[in-house]
């Protein structure tokens, strides 16, 4: 929650600078984002490689735990794809790429901006921040009507950190491990799945 506010703030400051044309020309002429993105990938990789929790969880619980992130992937892509037919100017593949952010707004919006441009990148940033916010607000209702996995499914990649407290509060501590596992798997998949869908 706090970090999404900080991220929106950085985005907003950049936005104001861009709008006011108060940007050094050096910034516009040299596109440094590609190199920064490579560095980001490297550091994200270190984070994932050093985290062996996901493997431990699979060993401790039954194999059916893998079904949870699979549901989120299939459900998000189909849901986002279906919605795209309501808008004439949105194509299903782009909508699915946005949905494939699973709430991991920072990384997914950066990737989508790089591949498809700033329009879709901004859609991805807003959409995935909303996914986190809606999960924080709607988890109690979702869990009541759609069972104990609903909060985890709605949270997507955020179910391992920012939305974990609300999920365990309304579904019980025993679902915490499943929630963390699903979040980790989805977080790892985002940087592969988003470029794959758009390629």
């Amino acid at each position: 929650m706090k970090s999404s506010l900080i991220i929106l703030m950085f985005f907003a400051i950049g936005l104001v600078l861009g709008l006011s044309r108060f940007v050094p020309s050096f910034f516009i002429e040299n596109d440094l984002t590609m190199y920064i993105l490579y560095a980001l990938m490297f550091f994200v990789g270190i984070g994932i490689g050093s985290d062996t929790k996901a493997f431990k969880v699979i060993k401790e619980t039954k194999i059916k735990i893998i079904l949870v992130p699979i549901c989120v992937i299939v459900g998000s892509l189909l849901g986002a794809g279906a919605v795209s037919f309501l808008f004439s100017e949105m194509n299903p593949r782009e909508a699915m790429a946005v949905g494939a952010g699973f709430g991991y707004y920072s990384l997914s919006s950066i990737f989508i901006t790089k591949i498809s441009g700033e329009f879709l990148g901004t859609v991805a940033l807003l959409s995935n921040i909303m996914r986190e916010l809606i999960t924080l607000v709607a988890t109690p209702i979702l869990v009541k009507y759609f069972g104990s996995l609903a909060g985890i499914a709605s949270g997507g990649a955020t179910s391992m950190d920012s939305t974990l407290p609300i999920i365990t509060e309304y579904t019980g501590k025993e679902w915490g491990i499943i929630s963390i596992f699903s979040g980790i798997v989805l977080t790892i998949i985002v940087p592969f799945l988003v470029p794959f869908i758009l390629s």
Partner: protein, 86 residues
């Protein structure tokens, strides 16, 4: 990224390095989103269609949450529901 993952696995005991790497990740994400903000601000096409962007984002979010929740509900009923009855 795969290079990073291998490094991360090898360095998993070195808590200090991992902490620095985590901070670097956060800092880089801030920088990139700041630059995305600048790019959006400079892009007239994006600014003039900001309402469309908002609606599209909302629709995609609701679609993907609903889709995920429906699939999770089916899985819950089929594979996890017995756990609840204890």
């Amino acid at each position: 990224m795969i290079v990073g993952m291998i490094c991360g696995y090898l360095l998993k005991e070195k808590k200090k390095i991992l902490q620095i790497s985590e901070k670097m990740t956060t800092a880089i994400i801030f920088i990139l989103l700041f630059m995305l903000g600048i790019g959006v601000g400079l892009n007239k096409k994006v600014i003039s269609s900001i309402d469309t962007i908002g609606w599209q984002a909302t629709a995609i979010t609701l679609g993907s949450i609903l889709g995920s929740v429906i699939f999770a509900f089916i899985t819950f009923k089929l594979f996890f529901a017995s756990k609840n009855e204890k």
